[in-house]
Symmetry: C2
Subunit: 242 residues, 2 copies
Amino acid sequence: MQKAAIEKNNEMIAAQLTPVGRETVQDRVYSELRRALIGGLFEPSQVLTIRGLADALVTSTMPVREALGRLITEKALEALPNRSVRVPPITLERIDDLLRARSLIEGEAIALAATRMNPRQIASVEAMLGEWDEMRALKHKKDIDREATLNQSFHFEIYRCCGSAVLIPMIESLWLQSGPCIRVAIYAFSDAGEVDTAHYHRSIVAALSRQDAQAAREALVADISRPFAFLRDKLQSTSKEG
Amino acid sequence: MQKAAIEKNNEMIAAQLTPVGRETVQDRVYSELRRALIGGLFEPSQVLTIRGLADALVTSTMPVREALGRLITEKALEALPNRSVRVPPITLERIDDLLRARSLIEGEAIALAATRMNPRQIASVEAMLGEWDEMRALKHKKDIDREATLNQSFHFEIYRCCGSAVLIPMIESLWLQSGPCIRVAIYAFSDAGEVDTAHYHRSIVAALSRQDAQAAREALVADISRPFAFLRDKLQSTSKEG
DNA sequence: TCAAAGCAAGCGTGATCACAAATCAAATCA
DNA sequence: TGATTTGATTTGTGATCACGCTTGCTTTGA
């Protein structure tokens, strides 16, 4: 019986190769649409069609319609009575509603994380802060996409430490819902002049490293409130004009 | 121009007829699976197949697969790496996780509702309490399904008053996730002898009627903690035996 | 000239088929 | 006898087609 030898050979092969994964087309479509939504590539109130997306993503309609259905159930998209689907429009009530929910849930997640993060994990998110500064130093403005991605990684790296398999998907859903709104605010930001966003993130990391759950929660709420407050003002002024 | 006459005739017709609705097969399948999940008709860890459900619901596979996909994204079902889908199993961590999330979010919802409910709405949920007592008086035990339905109506009637279009879908998702777990506990309840559940609901209504948000939150948390705590003890004792 | 009817293109929905992966059972070999 | 392999059945996934609804434009009639 050369069972052991075969086993060893397989292990050698396994060490060289990297798993190819079994992602379905539907999963890729779903991920791509999520990315687009969080990244603000779609405008609020924009209507999406199955065939149009299928053409753009170079697949058939089948994976797209299932991905759209999933995004509708998590309120990232909206099903109109006409049976067409669109990106939810921005309203003042919705902005306040989203901010309240995010403060509540992400606040709880970071408070939990503050009591559970080990030094290794804290060092990891602290390192992201440095990477951030480098990027900012190099190209004074621009590259909003890269900054947004980094911001997302920063937040979820922390949230993952809260140890809740229930809260994290909810937070993802909230980011999905607020993505299109936030992006509108961010773009307006970069026109209106930069604000020191790094300051908030430093406060968060500082609170985490001394395991101060309450301070972490407050710093986080201040961080996520910023774009919402900006968007709120912008919306109110435009509605006055109209 | 007999426009006014035509208009009047149309109104008369509309008064007689009731809208026929435009629910798709997929929607019906989704609702039915939701009902089954919250009602605990499926056991934890039970595997569901598309064709099996399609046969049981007397449709084709298409509406079922889309409904399953939607339920998977809201974590009401679980996609295994084998690509089969099952009802999520019960674990101690999951129970604590769900209870924490529900206390947080439903607690916030009821606190908001406490400040916003008008006398009309309060009277409505108070009336449900009476209906409850009647049912309980008639058939001493039994009819758990009816009681569960009433309980669900009671809670969501309150939550709807919180005025948040973001929180309510999240609460629905949480009920969906905890449905199978809760049902296991409820059935064990009715064996172990009834507890006075009406007491908690009276406390909730009392707090709401004097607009005491904090008391309402505490009464609610006590109410939803009960089956979770019971289930928790049951799980711990069985794991000791095994 | 303008509103209403009619028509055509586009869309979502559901059914069916083809294919590949997984599962289970019988058959095979050591 | 017990582990392995082989083959048949079942399952999920994706593509395609047919049907009915919606929408926008043209045409018709007053």
